[in-house]
Amino acid sequence: MEPVIEMRDLTKRYGDQVAVDRVTLHVPPGEIFGFLGPNGAGKTTTILMLLGLSEPTSGWARICGLDPTRAPVKVKRISGYLPEAVGFYEDMTAIDNLRYVARLNGIQDSQARMRIAERLALVGLADEGKKRVGAYSRGMRQRLGIAEVLLKDPRVVFLDEPTVGLDPDGTQRMLEMIQSLSRERGITVFFSSHLLDQVQRISARVGIMLKGRLVAVGSIQELGQQSLGVGQERYTLEEVYMRYFRQGPMAAA
């Protein structure tokens, strides 16, 4: 199957600093891919390059066969992006916020009304649609963000730290929602996080970023065997991650 997300030697430099260093990665359709790493490892920069919001210094990326640098609008038509701690127009209601995004995506108002109601119900905000977003809690905002990303019926979604700052209940709901995206809608999910147990719960495969380099890719079981040796029945992501983290970014090369 042709990968939905594909990148080869993707590199981003800011002056002397290398934010993303020759990352090569494939994500097949429908997969939930967990993108791990400490803050400042280059996760967000990678996502921005995949969406065509930032230009790679070298290397290339493809989203469903499209080049984000050359055809950013086409890529953005099929991919949703939920930035870390997404913002909304505070004075507008949730429905108005979503309608604006629907218009930006060229969805007719009549059709948008149905879609908005459906997506709000999906994220459990059906009754709060007419409230001003300014009155929303952190968890509600994050769920509204998911509803917004789904408006355009994306084939792939990029979620940047979707669970940061949520309470346990909110986190649980968010994770279930991400799982249902993949299971029920067949959407490929690429999500970054530094919260390991959450990633472990829902991702099929993970990638570990350290200082701009992708030091490991694979299922948690595979990575465990690679880094900790065969023998253990189950590996927790925490063990694997800390192992790579101690080895540092050069180990993978």
Partner: protein, 320 residues
């Protein structure tokens, strides 16, 4: 294109429902009411017992009345309208963290700037047209003169120039909102530039002219020296769009003026020939006189835009 219209619609709704629009509208309503009343009254008293001169209607906009004329008011405070509507266009999106998702929608980035500019320009047009119509209406009552087509045409051209003029300031404010991350910084920067262009450029123009071509204070100055002095002063003052606008509108609103220059050197023969043309210029000719000013004004706006685009396209969208 659809990105542009979506941004335009949203921004326009925002403008019309915003507190600052209400504030601007109230301010402008008050000023135009006062102005229409004082100039109308003043004109009526002055013209009592005389035949009303041709194009008397335009005097409503140019005669100073108690405080200042409308043309002066717009020249001076019009920039503030543009600046107030635009100084937080982009950096507010950044501050409320909506910029990243906005640029992640399938639209071209420039349609964000364009949509915001056009929405601001529409708001400005509504405000300025409101002033002109209000003063015309009240003036109609005060003066009891119905404006002819010539006057209506001149007012329309005046309105277009004024919209372009405020549009320049709007473009400048949007540029500041791209360049400065903080909304307060951007507001202060554009205000500082406005003060510089409004007060210091005219001052600087005089200084430059004085030092390049000094005009002796005692005795009779050579007409040639005075003329060169004036030319230099004028050239320097055109750094400020306020000077451009003032000159352009004074020609449009006063058909007796045939040039934007305040001082014209004429020989006796020329004077003779000029005296035979003591009639108002037709509107088309007036427009020709100010065409270069308009082109310069539009060009300045385009420069603001070009820099805004270039800066905005390169900017990183991440907020952290």
């Amino acid at each position: 294109m659809r990105g542009l219209s979506a941004v335009y619609r949203k921004e326009l709704e925002d403008h019309f429902s915003s507190a600052r629009f209400t504030l601007l509208l109230t301010l402008i309503l008050m000023v135009s009411l006062i102005m229409a009343y004082t100039t109308g009254n003043g004109l009526r008293k002055e013209l009592e017992g005389f035949a009303k001169p041709a194009l008397v209607f335009l005097l409503l906009f140019t005669s100073t009345g108690a405080l200042f004329s409308l043309a002066q008011f717009v020249a001076f405070f019009g920039p503030l309208i543009g600046l107030v509507l635009g100084f937080d266009a982009i950096n507010r999106e950044r501050a409320q963290r909506t910029l990243a998702k906005l640029v992640a929608q399938p639209i071209y980035r420039d349609s964000i700037i364009n949509g915001k500019f056009l929405a601001g320009l529409t708001t400005v047009t509504v405000l300025l047209a409101g002033i002109v119509l209000l003063i015309s209406g009240l003036g109609l009552r005060e003066l009891g003169v119905v404006p002819g087509w010539e006057e209506v045409g001149r007012l329309a051209v005046y309105l277009v120039i004024s919209v372009l003029y405020v549009g320049f300031w709007l473009g400048l404010a949007i540029l500041a909102s791209v360049l400065f991350r903080g909304m307060a910084t951007s507001a202060l920067a554009v205000l500082a530039l406005w003060i510089f262009l409004a007060f210091f450029v005219p001052l600087g123009a005089t200084l430059v002219a004085d030092s390049v071509v000094p005009v002796p204070t005692t005795g009779q100055a050579e007409i040639d020296t005075v003329l060169r002095h004036e030319t230099i002063k004028r050239a320097v003052s055109y750094v400020s769009p306020i000077a451009l606008y003032t000159d352009a509108t004074s020609v449009i609103l006063d058909p007796m003026r045939k040039t934007t220059r305040a001082l014209v050197l004429v020989g006796p023969l020329e004077r003779l020939s000029l005296s035979r043309f003591q009639n108002p210029l037709p509107l088309g000719q007036s427009a020709l006189v100010v065409a270069p000013h308009l082109i310069l004004l539009v060009a300045l706006t385009f420069v603001c835009f070009a820099i805004s685009y270039a800066a905005f396209m390169r900017q990183e969208v991440r907020t952290t």
